[in-house]
Symmetry: C2
Subunit: 202 residues, 2 copies
């Protein structure tokens, strides 16, 4: 077994983060590596680095839709560009951090529910009523989850993680680290795989 980790800095608002998330568990599993979820606030990363979403350049935004669809097809995963994009994900990311800190057993269920609502079902996850419905359907307690987002420790942890990502060189999402090596984008997963080395044998 390898003791390697893949740190996955992500934001639910990023469609490329969704695509990476559909692939990373299998990549890590095949390499015997541990996938470490690092929620961050992409808006904070953009603000700190001066970067911006590709959609701020119309031609780039248009191509991005085609490009993401091509990768979804390659991966064989469902994907629908969210009609409410861009969505403010502050509460969603805080809740992710809150669950990591206070209820880690429910973290995977939460991440799955939110990524699917955003990038498969096209839900308006900026609307607290929609979020509550999505969480309830996933078997989570919406009130308990949303209560986490108000905690100072949770807010601070998301802020710290975002600042850490920027300090380590991130400028967008998803950003993966294998040790000191940084990889930006779901289109660099093959390099992540290579960085983990040959597939672990049982």
């Amino acid at each position: 077994m390898s003791s390697q980790t893949v740190e996955f800095f992500f934001d639910f608002g990023s469609p490329a983060s969704y695509l990476a998330w559909t692939q990373l568990p299998a990549i890590c599993s095949a390499a015997g590596a541990t996938l470490v979820y690092r929620p961050m606030l992409l808006g904070g990363v953009f603000q700190a680095t001066g970067n911006a979403s590709p959609i701020t350049v119309p031609a780039k935004g248009k191509y991005m839709l085609t490009d993401l669809a091509r990768f979804a097809q390659r991966y064989g995963v469902p994907m629908r560009f969210n009609p409410h994009f861009p969505i403010n994900t502050l509460a969603l990311m805080r809740a992710a951090v809150g669950l990591q800190l206070h209820d880690p057993a429910r973290f995977d269920t939460y991440v799955t529910a939110v990524f699917r609502a955003m990038w498969v079902d096209g839900r308006n996850m900026a609307d607290p009523a929609v979020v509550a419905e999505v969480l309830a359907r996933a078997g989570l307690d919406p009130q308990a989850v949303l209560a986490l987002t108000g905690e100072a420790a949770v807010k601070d942890a998301l802020k710290s993680s975002t600042e850490e990502a920027v300090r380590r060189g991130a400028f967008g999402a998803p950003t993966m680290f294998v040790g000191a090596q940084m990889f930006f984008g779901q289109d660099r997963l093959d390099f992540v795989r290579e960085a983990l080395g040959p597939t672990a044998q049982p």
Copy 2:
């Protein structure tokens, strides 16, 4: 034999264009497709689309160096980031168009000499004396080549090709078209290969 073409919109100033150029002839050859060189002025594309070089975001520019080096290693091709980057490529791109129009037999020699000077040898190709030396070493007549850059028809052709790229959706370099399908970036060459279909059998 396929009658497909890959249109390769490029600018010598773009390191990703260089990397794509090292791979495209073999990709096209394997698929029995024709590689069609489409010189364009990346600065014109940026101006028309509102896009900008990745280096305008320092964290992105820094990562880009690592990312390009990783691809160069994967491809097994030499690459050195040009210390004089960014370089104004207007005259270089005009000369490329001029050779296509007036001396196509020398086009490949010219492209090879300029790409290598830019991205292997790190020459300052904004300096006409350096350009002349590079061309002479490649067996070209610098005066004859540079004379082409003053022609109105050549200037117009480069302008048209840049405008065409933008009209068809390009926002950066390299941009490849296989029919109506657009692919941006040297990191999408595998999709270009797929778009060309199964490898042609002799």
